[in-house]
Amino acid sequence: MFKLNVLTPERKAVFDQEITKVTVPAHSGEMTILPGHSPLITTLGTGILKYKIKGQEKTYKAVISWGYCEVSPETVNVLAEFMQTPEEVVEETAKNHLQNAEKKLITEVLNDADYVATMNEADKARAAINLVKH
């Protein structure tokens, strides 16, 4: 039994789903977790979450942004602030967001908080574009 829960403040995206493998954008790079992993807590950056449901060939994907991940041998709990599935991504909007964010980064003088927020915005859009491409 290896289960995945993905929660966001706005919804319960994945709940008690039995999986065989999950990949998360962890603090120190992408990390794949297989059943029986030792207990671990890590923060998550912006990136793509991938998981395989037991008995299915298809890999499910979603963009997530900030979160933390708690791993125990039987369960993986992912808490993310933002989550978007491929069906929800509109490529045009994502491209626009990316363009705006990049423009802002180049042309404006930003304070630290704004800089981080804009970077995050750009990362989110980039991940969303990648998500629909592949």
Binding site: P9, E10, P39, L40, W66, L79
Partner: protein, 290 residues
Amino acid sequence: MANLKEIRIRIDSTKNTQQITKAMKLVSAAKLRKAQHNITNMRPYAVTLKGVIANIAATQKVTHPLMTKKENVKSVLLVVLTSDRGLCGGFNSSIIKFAEKYYADHKAGLEKIDFIFVGKRGSDYFARKNVKGLESITKLDKDISYDLAHGVAEKLINRFMDGSYDEIRLVYNEFKSAISQKVVCETLLPVEIEKSSFEGTNFSPDMIFDPAPEVIIEDLLKKNFNLQVYRAMSESVASEHGARMTAMENASNNARDMINKLTLTYNKARQEKITTELTEIVSGAESLKG
């Protein structure tokens, strides 16, 4: 005696008002359902987050400025959550009354009390009283999103971290049920974490942390704070719709009573008129006979 036409006009206008209040009630009911849905959706996230913070704090013995209570509190920032629109019964007035009372009661003991107003009603009211808030956040007409709450929370946390305030308190309407709301005043910062919630979890002591627990807990505390602000806002919105629903229900009932009363007066007046006319005709005929 009021004449018949006047009464009929009044009945018609009351009927129109009743239609409006009925429609508003239905709209509020739909919005309330949505807001309640928001609150239930958030619960699992909130519970998990709070649990893990308590666990890390207890097992790793880490502390953080966001968690440490100040010995003597000198400056307080009061965040007052109201709505943008009126017609919702005592929703806004009870919040405003509470904020005023809090200010009057604590003015003497503290060095400074500042306000941040969320919602147009509150900021307008205090602007008339010449109390200037540090900031007014209005335009809540759309649904409260996590992003909006996040923005507000970020500002609050910065003000707390740079030491301008020892405590940040939030005044809002807690959602009890569709017909009852309660004004509550919560201390948002510093965060109080009950260590008791540690019991009964399967938190392994040889947990791997990446990055270090101190860094993780800071991140988690901030996120938890964002979430608290989001929760309070959602509760406030749900309460607003609940309050408006009740207010509109009452208004519709009052309109119904009024229409009944007016119809009765109208019928009486009509009957009286007929009787008078009949008497006139009969007495006219009598006099012709004679």
